[in-house]
Amino acid sequence: MERFTVLDLLDLDLKEHDALNLKCIGGRPGLANTITIPEINRPGLALSGFFENFAHHRIQVFGRGEMAYIEKLDRENKLDTIHRMFSFKIPAIIFTYNLTPPQSFVEIVESSDCAILRTDIPSSEFSLRLIRELGTVFAPRKTIHGVLVEVFGIGILIMGSSGVGKSESALELIERGHRLIADDSIELHCVSGNILMGEGSNAVAAHHMEIRGLGIINVKQLFGVGAIRDSKQVQLIVNLEEWDNNKVYDRLGSGDNTTEILGVQVPTVLIPVKPGRNIPVIIETAAMNERLKKMGYYSAKEFNQNILRWLESENARNVYFHKKDVF
């Protein structure tokens, strides 16, 4: 990843419940500071003069408590610890609750090239959002070749070599009312170690598809805003490949195949492609089957259980009731 600066943090395109509502209220040169780790710090200890293990390379969040203490120091004109605190290289400080720091404090901060930001969100809620967003920014990333669609609420990554019919299958799925996240180059990132999120690697080309014979089409304009989505968790991988007569394909569906991407195990199905096989319907069915599994119902396992139960009862019947017994 390239350098992630304080300005990039202000520029993040976040919506509604993710919004950070940040504004820069001082220390503008500090906007170029690099944020190196996805963590934050409450500077209570540092303000009171204790600097051992001071996590100065983190963003410092000032809430009402810190603010009250700064005001007390300002009133009593004891600004030495604040001078000391900003002798460390701090990328940015953020005031929550729309608090405004005293002028003397701002001057000290600005002299150390540290950006001063402000938000109207309460401290705990702001910390949660900031950690979540920084987690996304610093998440391990990977760009892969495939199509990401949402089918019945399940994020499906369709993969396979070029020309196998990924885009055509996705187009048919969109036509059936499912959603396209991105075609062709998908950027995946891992959130909190176990969730794999996917989105188009480029906002300009997102929601466009290339269909052989038609060229590039704009799915949003053609099928409407209901046919697209910006990002989605990858919950199932569908691998399309040319039908190979010598290969044994899964006939029961009882095996749990997974693919590891960025350390996350994603359930995977391999679907052989052959003229006459309706791939979109198979993908829809795979999505519904995956939903059932999430609800705890495993088609193949339940089926086998029923067979076993039936065989057992049949055997029992044979033991107790012989054919020659006529009632």
Partner: protein, 88 residues
Amino acid sequence: MTTKEVIIKNRAGIHARPAALLVQIANSFDSEIFLEKENNRINGKSIMGIITLGASYNTKLTVIAEGSDEQEAVDAIVRLFENRFEED
């Protein structure tokens, strides 16, 4: 595996037309072909991939090919870059 670095010399960068040209050439080879820009690797046979790479003027790219005709593939693609996609 054959790799070669190229620098984009046409002013407009790789927009739709050069990308189509590139894909057309890449698809005429059996080898797997990739383009890499700052650790961002995409399939050289996919037009959307190449466009989303966002390769502008003076960007450095690495052409990677793997397969039976990798040398010919890399040569053909590098030639395309050197000819500035018949632009300018």
